[in-house]
């Protein structure tokens, strides 16, 4: 097991290094960062340009600059944002808690709804319940998240005036005080729901088809014949094995959460890393964008590894291969 974990970690680190190389390399190829840092009044002055370039170390060969970048990136040091003129690291850390809260809430919602609904629709195959959940899944995988978000804002915010439609309230940082909890949950409802739609749909379909396969196996049929109570057969005997493929695809659906979080954060003005990345991209704030992309990438890669390790625990056959 430890060898397996170690191998996955090494693979993850290599992917991350490749990613950092691509990010740095493409910035290096397309933009001369120097011109961004010179005051406009001295834009034409060749001497100022050279001096700035030298001061920033931008006249050195590519590989040395990359090594420098990597060394700093390991300490999460991406320099100052061009726009806000503050260290990228501080800005990212300030926003990270909001994104993690949102992602956890979304994941929790999609597992809490997706797994039981998927299992039930397999058990009640071809019933009205099965058809309704199927229709929801088809819709959830086809409707654009930004549109669902706006429609919910229209309904619950503009028309019914029931739920807050932007920001995270008075909440700041990682842990809410007891008094902040209701307000925090209140602000989380809409964004977390939107983030969860497509992932819930995917988990539901997956749990359903896995469950159908397991229900068809001999050991489940034997348990039924033996007279074990239906509820025990479904939730204890069958569901346990049906959840293994759901867990594998958990890593892949996490990509959905990360993809979605940029869009959802923009629509709901949720002050997270995704919104920061969006602002950095639109203002071509290179250090900010590099930092946000690498941080999101690292989060994604290590989540996938964590899921793989959990999968190794759930299904020992995986570890051998």
């Amino acid at each position: 097991m430890w060898a397996y974990i170690l191998r996955r970690l090494c693979e993850g680190i290599i992917t991350l290094i490749v990613l950092s190389f691509v990010v740095f390399g493409s910035v290096f190829l397309t933009g001369d960062v120097t011109t961004f840092l010179i005051p406009v009044s001295e834009d034409h002055d060749q001497k100022v340009y050279e001096a700035q370039k030298k001061a920033m170390g931008l006249d050195r060969p590519f590989i040395i600059q990359y090594g420098d970048f990597l060394g700093h990136a390991l300490r999460l040091d991406f320099g100052n944002s061009f726009v806000i003129r503050q260290p990228v690291k501080d800005l990212l850390m300030e926003r990270l808690s909001a994104t993690v809260h949102l992602a956890l809430a979304g994941l929790l919602l999609s597992v809490a709804f997706g797994v039981p609904l998927g299992i039930l629709s397999a058990v009640k195959r071809d019933s009205a319940f099965d058809k309704i959940t199927k229709a929801f899944a088809i819709f959830g995988m086809a409707a654009p998240q930004f549109w669902i978000a706006i429609m919910l804002i229209l309904l619950f915010g503009a028309q019914l005036k029931l739920l807050p439609t932007f920001g995270r309230g008075e909440m700041e940082g990682w842990l809410p005080t007891l008094a902040q909890v209701p307000d925090m949950l209140y602000h989380l409802i809409l964004p977390a729901f939107v983030l969860a739609t497509s992932v819930t749909a995917a988990i539901m379909r997956l749990a359903r088809s896995a469950m159908l396969e397991v229900l068809d196996t001999d050991y489940v049929k034997f348990a039924q014949v033996k007279g074990v109570h239906d509820r025990v057969v479904v939730w204890k005997h069958a569901a346990r094995n049906a959840l293994i493929p759901v867990l594998t695809f958990g890593g892949i659906t996490m990509a959905g959460l990360l993809n979605g979080s940029v869009v959802v954060e923009v629509v709901f003005a949720w002050p997270g890393v995704g919104l920061l990345l969006f602002q950095a991209v639109t203002s071509r704030d290179y250090p900010m964008a590099e930092g946000a992309i690498l941080l999101s990438g690292a989060a994604y890669i290590f989540t996938a590894i964590l899921v793989d390790i959990l999968y190794g625990y759930a299904d020992p056959r995986i570890r051998v291969n």
Partner: protein, 297 residues
């Protein structure tokens, strides 16, 4: 001659045969009609759309905005600047085609070539290409797209590139798998023994075996691609604001939710329907071409 009779009996010719085969295929008519409509409206947008989609008309109604289903000279109403919304929706179909078609074409060609080379060459070429493919696959597509937009700025070709960069890897992976299965088959080995050059073996003997997979994967990917394009348009990374793209229209409708609910509603419904149509069609194609690929339902 007896043989010919048997053939005729087994396969009745003419229209009846075609009709019989169509019925057997259980074609998904509704998705197909939607997709045909998309293509026709997209290609003929200039002729079909009743108004110029970007022309503003500040004289309309005195308050510059007409709700849908009230004034039949503007069936879907207008936006705040008096642009006819039906015309904008129709031209949105064109924008979707303009981004999706070239992006898919490049992604398919690139992915197929890489998959064919990787699968046939094997050894270090295969490991190298597949490591790169895995790295691209194992990364949220919107992040890759945003990185490209940061570097190249906004615009329709940036969106095409971003979509291509995130889509080719799936094709490379699937095609490589197909090549691995087919390269050990007898006719390929025979071709190799008789001295057919590798390029010809790949092109004439292996590639035709992968076409089914390619078609299924294409139709299943288009929905994803349309969603990614719409998201990028919505975030303002594609065409300029004011241009007719469904994602942009939702974004603009967002600013007028009160007093203009249809502005964000209609384009979203159309995106959903089109993506659904492609998903249904892809599912059908997968079942039709290869029953082995059928998932438990």
């Amino acid at each position: 001659m007896a043989n010919a009779d048997v053939v005729v009996l087994a396969e009745p010719g003419g229209i009846r045969a075609v009709r019989h085969r169509l019925r057997e295929a259980r074609l998904p008519w509704i998705p197909i009609l939607i997709l045909v409509a998309l293509v026709v409206l997209g290609l003929g947008a200039d002729v079909i759309a009743p108004y110029n989609p970007t022309k503003t008309d500040i004289t309309i109604g005195g308050q510059n905005i007409i709700p849908p289903f009230q004034d039949w000279s503007h069936p879907l109403g207008t936006d705040k600047l008096g642009k006819d919304y039906l015309s904008r929706m129709i031209h949105g179909a064109r924008t979707t085609l303009r981004v999706t078609a070239p992006a898919m074409a490049v992604a398919i060609i690139m992915g197929t070539l890489i998959g064919l080379v990787s699968g046939y060459a094997g050894r270090w070429v295969d490991s190298l290409l597949m490591r790169i493919t895995d790295a691209v696959l194992g990364f949220p597509s919107l992040l890759v797209a945003l990185l490209i937009v940061t570097l190249l700025g906004t615009g329709i070709w940036t969106v095409v590139m971003a979509v291509t960069a995130t889509t080719w890897a799936r094709f490379a992976r699937m095609i490589r798998g197909e090549v691995l299965v087919n390269r050990e088959r007898d006719f390929v080995i025979l071709a190799r023994i008789t001295g057919v050059p590798p390029v010809l073996i790949i092109w004439r003997h292996i590639f035709p075996q992968t076409v089914n997979t390619l078609m299924v994967l294409t139709s299943l990917s288009i929905g994803q691609v349309i969603l990614l394009e719409a998201s990028l348009s919505f975030l303002g990374m594609g065409l300029k604001p004011g241009e007719p793209a469904w994602g942009i229209m939702v974004a603009e409708g967002r600013a007028h939710l009160i007093g203009g609910w249809w502005l964000a509603l209609f384009p979203g419904i159309v995106i959903t329907i089109v993506v659904m149509a492609f998903n249904f069609f892809g599912d059908w194609l997968r079942d039709y071409l290869d029953p082995k690929l059928r998932r438990a339902r």
